[in-house]
Amino acid sequence: MKTILNKKDIIFAAGIMLAALLMLICMNFGKQKAGTFIRITVDGKEYGVYSLDKDKVIDIDGELGHNQVVIQDGEAYMNEADCPDHYCMEYKAISQKNETIICLPHKMVVEVIADNSEGKESQVDIIAQ
C-alpha cells in the first residue's frame, strides 16, 4: 500500500517545478506595468488594436465563427463565442501586459500590449469613436 517515489522521480519533479518557477519569476519581472491596449489576432493576422481606457464591445466575425470581446473598466474579457468548447469565456478578465485570452477553435488570440507601437489602433475603431 505504500507509495514508492524513487530518488530520480523526486529530483525530476523538483527540477521541473524549479524550472517553471524560475520562468514565472522571469516572465513576471517585466509585467508589473498594466497594459494599455489589447490586440486581437485571428489566424495569425491582426484584426485590431483597441485601447483599454475606453469601454467597448467588439464583435469579431471570422470565417470560423463569432466572438465578442468586451472592454470594461480597463479590462477585457470574452463575452460571447459560438465555439464548441467555450473555454475562451472561462478566462478571467485581462489587463496586465502579455496576458492572453485564446479561442483555439476560432484561432483567435486577445493579448494585452503595453503600447500601440506594436500595432496601430485600427482605422475603423477611430472612425467609430
Binding site: 530518488k7 525530476f12 488570440v109
Partner: protein, 160 residues
C-alpha cells in the same frame, strides 16, 4: 492473440469511461482546458504490462472515440498531439533506470501539456502562448504525480 484483443478492448472501454467521468468533474486549474488526465491512467499502467505498440493503439483508439462521442473535432488535434508526445516521453523515461511509475507519469503529464501548447501556438500563430508554459509545467507535474500514485497503487493490487 484473442487475449491481446480482449485486454485492449477492456482497456479502451476503461479509458473511455475515465474520459467521461473526467468531463463530469468541473475542476478548474486556473487555465481553461487544463485537466486531470484520468484516461492517462490506463496508458501509464498499460506501459507496464502490455507491449508498446498495443498501448499506442489503445491510446489512439481512445482519442478517436472520445472525440467522436463527446468531444468536438477541433479538440481532436490537441488530444492527439498531447497524447502522442506524452506517450513517446513516457516510453523513453521508462527505459531509463531509476524512475518509478510515478516519475514516468509525471514526465507524461508535463510532456502532454507542452505538446498541446506547441500545437496551439502553431495553430493561432502567436508565440505569446509561451507565457502559459510554466503554469502548464506545474499543472502537468501535479496531475502526473497524482495519476502516477494511483497507477502504482493499482499495480500493487492487480497482478497481471
Amino acid at each position: 492473440m484473442a487475449k491481446k484483443i480482449a485486454y485492449s478492448s477492456i482497456l479502451v472501454a476503461l479509458a473511455l469511461i475515465l474520459s467521461y467521468i473526467e468531463a463530469l468533474i468541473p475542476i478548474n486549474f486556473g487555465i481553461p482546458g487544463v485537466k486531470l488526465g484520468l484516461a492517462n491512467l490506463v496508458i501509464v499502467i498499460g506501459l507496464y504490462f502490455l507491449n508498446t505498440s498495443q498501448v499506442f493503439i489503445i491510446l489512439i483508439t481512445r482519442i478517436l472515440l472520445v472525440s467522436f462521442l463527446f468531444g468536438n473535432m477541433s479538440a481532436m488535434l490537441y488530444s492527439l498531439a498531447g497524447g502522442i508526445v506524452s506517450f513517446t516521453v513516457m516510453f523513453l523515461i521508462k527505459k531509463i533506470k531509476g524512475f518509478s511509475i510515478v516519475g514516468v507519469s509525471i514526465a507524461g503529464g508535463v510532456a502532454h501539456n507542452i505538446g498541446q501548447l506547441i500545437v496551439a501556438s502553431l495553430v493561432v500563430e502567436n508565440m505569446k502562448l509561451i507565457y502559459y508554459l510554466p503554469v502548464l509545467m506545474i499543472a502537468g507535474t501535479l496531475t502526473g504525480m497524482l495519476i502516477g500514485i494511483i497507477a502504482q497503487q493499482v499495480r500493487q493490487h492487480i497482478h497481471l
